[in-house]
Amino acid sequence: MSEQIAATGKKVSDKDQINEFVTFFIEKQIFGIPVSDIHEVFHPQAITRVPLAPPEIRGVLNLRGRIVTAIEVRVKLNLPALEQGQQSLMAIGVEINGESYGLIIDRVGDVLQLPVSKSEVVPMNMDPVWQKFTSEIYRLEDQLLIILDIKRLLDFETKSEMAA
């Protein structure tokens, strides 16, 4: 399901529809992920650290009987990870290729319904790391909303690019 939407994101915008995004914040920046990609928003608890795992993987946890891999979005975006215990963590649950991931973020924002007409291509001069994960940008009234492509964020589509 999520695959389909990720793949057809462009088509939907061509038809000038309204897209729905769950927004969240990291530091002051607002990000969005298509609602259809998101399973749930939860407070991750009892995260088990996975030795030898890549730095952005905070660990694995049990979410109602499913094992969820917790990813530090901050680390992926080249920002320092939140100190543990600073506040209760927030995570956005997504599913890719049948696997569950929890994207750890600073805090969750509103669900926004945005017309495709407000969508912009990713500016060339954006931080290349961020650029890699950004699928499009929406103009909000007072700020810009970065729409993240979770597949790329989770390295499912960037391997070849990175190799190149």
Binding site: A46, T48, R49, V50, P51, L52, A53, P54, I57, G59, V60, L61, N62, G65, I67, T69, I71, N97, E99, Y101, L154, D155, F156
Partner: protein, 894 residues
């Protein structure tokens, strides 16, 4: 129609697999009517169903095949390898069409005229070789049913008429589709061969009675729904575990009973669902006869495949995963394992190579063995290949046993197809086979005997879904270790019975006279190494293949049935984990992959050799000696050289027996004398008695102590002590005056003839500070005499052979006295002494012989001029006094 078609596809696939296997069997035993009937029936069913479903192309093919088979059945034609190949080809064609059908739900375009015409030609007997062999086939192949040929014409007619299958036949075919229904078969056969003799029917009856028919009603269930069911049961198991844990903590009695019931029902349900997923391993073997036949034909060998234990069941998921590795290995056995027929005959073997495939259950897993009686693995070729491509170094190769070399075929890089085929070794893709098997939590090992063949042993879990695992904790957190690989648990302490030692940065544990390489799970999982406190912990002893190693953990919890969940893609690259799971307390833990750990052990394989080497070095190098400190009767610490101690034990005081005034304990099936190091036999009465075990030549003596304190490595300066026979002297260890005990004294208390027995191997000593050169091939004796002589103020160089002595000679080393064993494996002490007496530099050095022989022998040796004097090995006092005396004489003479 869709459902019907998919049922047809599933059924036909299965039938064709059977046909494949049966045809190969038939080819070998062309007179086996039952096999042929079975094949005929299956093909017939396929044909009938195709007609019913409107699949003309398949029908035509099946019909042509059936016609030929009918000829065989009616004894009108005799099967030849060529015609069987033809039928197999047509089966392959059918499979192709079926695959196409599966994808597109319709038959592919085109026709199969070529193969059909061949089949027709064959059934008309016009294939040259068929024709040649056809006319007079009866004598050897149809001894007792010659009269059946009467049916020939009828059947020929029948077979040649297209579409002749009666409705009754078709129905019968459908009815029979589920399995070998011999009654249907009989009906069918009766109709087909009208004149069939009663005799033959009787034969069938006989066969039937030996193989009773099982009529079990079955329902075809979608595999996915079974998977779903299994997943749900897994969740149930998890939830139950969680409940169990909660109830354990609250100790509420109200819940206990219902929970117990829930627990047992869950277990039964788990077992039940698991059973539905179980399939006989024979299903994975079905295609093997065909593969063996084809590859044998391709390399022009005769190969017989024997299968045993086809009924052994395992989870279908596992079954699917081992299919390919098995195929690969069997093909390998055919291609590379078995020699060509003429070579076999020359080697005194039967011409047909044997491949034995067997399966059986062992504990919670299934063991599959693939054995061939071929030439065995080409050890030297594998070795040179491995050295050439850098898998191992020359030095490593020299130190490896043949078996270790053989196992290199599992190493990646050694097994690129071209490379290995060119060395004519086996091992094409064996690394792939190994990784496939390891992926499902299995292990693979092999044993190859030159000239006798190679046996592969695969051990895999029955199911992948739920495994029993040991939950352990390290500095990095909790982990689950699958029980499959765990052999035992050993508790280690800094000073206790099991103590982890370090040899050139590698940790080892002495376990039952063997050194076990130890890995610290904390360090493997990336925790920084802790220098000091490896104080108390547990060693989980594991075996993977024939590799045995210990994994050090901080603590061990209980065993839990865990539901293995695959790791996220992002984590799969971490090869020390095979999955993760949710524990009863709801937390997630990683499951340790024993194979991943085994790879980390890797180079530690040779640890035994390197350890013995470094021990020797430690002795020769005058620097430090490891001493075991303990208390025994009195407040002063006592010590013995650690190198003499074979093992530390704690013995249950109940087991200490007294016989003839001596204390004994049953130890590894023999009686071991126990002597108390404190002198008086003040053995513990309630608490376990710590015992130092000394073993030599299969005999052990236990030295009981009050408490084992520590192991220190220090430069030993022993000061000779009073005349107490059990004490060599005293030394300062860890800043405290410590009595160094004379182990020999206690050993002779245990066995009076200890040193006579040990005498086969000895060493010489030379003191040179008197400098002593001690030559004795027995490490035990060297280790014992060296501190003794050191204590007596000599500078001792201990070596194990006379050749080393000559090396020292050439190096210009000087000694004041040479003490040499008389009996050594590589030299004779007397010859050595004779040569010494003629040596330019050492001829004047006094030579002392050590012997375990009786007094009159000693006198004989003493009478020769080779030695200055001779001393009995067991007599340590006179050894020192004799050395003193001889040196004194020497000094006077000088």
């Amino acid at each position: 129609m869709d459902d019907l078609l998919s049922d047809f596809l599933a059924e036909t696939q299965e039938s064709l697999e059977v046909v494949d296997a049966e045809l190969v069997k038939f080819e070998q035993q062309p007179d086996d009517d039952e096999t042929l009937n079975n094949i005929f029936r299956l093909v017939h069913t396929i044909k009938g169903t195709c007609g019913f479903l409107g699949l003309p192309r398949l029908e035509a093919l099946a019909h042509a095949g059936e016609t030929l088979l009918g000829k065989y059945r009616d004894k009108a034609l005799i099967a030849t390898p060529d015609t069987v190949t033809l039928i197999l080809e047509s089966i392959d064609k059918i499979k192709e069409i079926l695959d196409y059908l599966t994808e597109t739900q319709s038959e592919p375009e085109g026709g199969d005229e070529e193969i059909i015409s061949k089949l027709v030609a064959a059934s008309e007997g016009s294939m040259e070789d068929v024709a040649a062999s056809e006319p007079d086939p009866k004598p050897e192949l149809e001894p007792e049913i010659e009269e059946d040929v009467v049916g020939y014409d009828d059947d020929l007619d029948r077979e040649l008429r297209p579409g002749e299958v009666s409705l009754a036949d078709l129905e019968a075919a459908f009815m029979a589709a589920d399995g070998p229904d011999l009654e249907q078969l009989a009906v069918e056969a009766d109709e087909a061969i009208k004149q069939e003799a009663k005799k033959e029917a009787e034969q069938k009856e006989v066969k039937k009675s030996t193989e009773p028919l099982k009529i079990v009603q079955t329902v075809r269930v979608n595999v996915d729904s079974l998977e779903d069911l299994m997943a749900m049961v897994s969740e149930l198991v998890l939830t139950r575990n969680q409940l169990l844990q909660t109830v354990r903590e609250t100790s509420s009695d109200d819940l206990k009973l219902p929970l117990q019931r829930l627990s047992s029902v869950t277990a039964e349900l788990q077992e039940g669902v698991m059973k539905t997923r179980m399939q006989p391993i024979g299903n994975a073997w079905k295609k093997l006869p065909r593969i063996v036949r084809d590859s044998a034909k391709a390399v022009n060998k005769k190969v017989q495949l024997n299968m045993k234990g086809e009924q052994t069941e395992l989870d279908r998921q596992v079954l699917e995963l081992i299919g390919d590795p098995l195929t690969h290995m069997v093909r390998n056995s055919c291609d590379h394992g078995l020699e060509p027929g003429d070579i076999r005959v020359a080697a005194g073997k039967q011409e047909a190579g044997q491949i034995n495939l067997s399966a059986y259950h062992e504990g919670g897993h299934i063991v599959i063995e693939i054995a061939d009686d071929g030439a065995g693995l080409p050890t030297s070729k594998i070795r040179s290949k491995a050295i050439k491509n850098g898998t191992i170094s020359q030095a490593e190769a020299d130190a490896m046993t043949d078996n270790q070399i053989h196992r290199l075929i599992f190493a990646a890089g050694l097994s690129t197809a071209a490379a290995v085929t060119s060395i004519s070794g086996r091992g094409v893709g064996m690394d792939v086979v190994r990784s496939n098997i390891e992926q499902i939590g299995g292990t693979i090992d092999l044993k190859s005997v030159d000239g006798q063949g190679t046996t592969f042993k695969i051990k895999i879990p029955l199911t992948l879904a739920i495994v029993s695992a040991l939950i352990v904790e390290t500095r990095a957190g909790k982990f689950a270790i699958p029980q499959l690989a765990v052999v035992e648990l050993v508790r280690t302490t800094l000073t206790g019975e099991h103590r982890i030692e370090t040899i050139s940065n590698a940790r080892v544990l002495r376990l039952r006279d063997k050194l076990l390489p130890i890995l610290d799970l904390s360090e493997i999982t990336g925790e920084p190494a802790v220098q000091e406190e490896k104080a108390a912990g547990f060693v989980v002893v594991m075996t993977v293949g024939e590799q045995r190693f210990g994994v050090l953990v901080d603590s061990v919890f209980d065993t839990e049935e865990i539901v293995v969940k695959p790791m996220s893609d992002r984590l799969k690259s971490i090869d020390i984990f095979s999955g993760n799971t949710i524990l009863g307390d709801g937390s997630v833990v990683m499951i340790v992959d024993p194979n991943g750990i085994a790879r980390q052990v890797g180079s530690l394989n040779d640890i035994e050799q390197s350890s013995s080497r470094s021990e020797n070095m430690a002795i020769d190098d005058e620097s430090k000696t490891a001493m075991l400190l303990f208390f025994a009767g009195g407040k002063e610490p006592k010590a013995v050289p650690l190198s003499l101690v074979t093992r530390l034990e704690e013995i249950d005081p109940q087991k200490i027996e007294i016989s003839n005034g001596r204390h004994l304990v049953q130890y590894r099936d023999t009686l071991m004398p126990l002597i108390h190091a404190g002198g008086a036999p003040s053995f513990n009465e309630k608490t376990p008695q710590p015992v130092l075990v000394f073993t030599e030549n299969g005999r052990s003596v236990g030295l009981a102590v009050d408490e084992i304190v520590d192991i220190v490595e220090e430069v030993l300066h022993i000061e000779m002590a009073d005349n107490a026979p059990e004490i060599i002297g005293s030394a300062v260890l860890k800043g405290k005056a410590t009595e160094v005990l004379d182990v020999g004294h206690f050993l002779t208390l245990g066995f009076h003839d200890w040193f006579e027995r040990a005498a086969a191997d000895e060493e010489t000593q030379e003191a040179a500070a008197k400098r002593v050169l001690l030559v004795d091939d027995n490490a035990f004796f060297r280790n014992m005499v060296k501190p003794l002589l050191s204590a007596a103020g000599y500078e001792v160089t201990a070596i194990e052979s006379t050749s080393e002595a000559w090396e020292l000679n050439e190096a210009g080393v000087e000694f004041d006295i040479i003490v040499s064993d008389i009996e050594m494996p590589d030299d004779n002490g007397v010859d050595f002494a004779n040569r010494l007496s003629k040596d330019l530099r050492w001829s004047t050095v006094p030579r002392l012989a050590l012997s375990a022989l009786e007094q009159h022998d000693l006198e004989k040796i003493g009478a020769t001029t080779a030695f200055t004097d001779v001393v009995r090995k067991s007599d340590r006092e006179s050894l020192i006094s004799t050395i003193n005396y001889v040196l004194q004489l020497q000094g006077e003479a000088a």
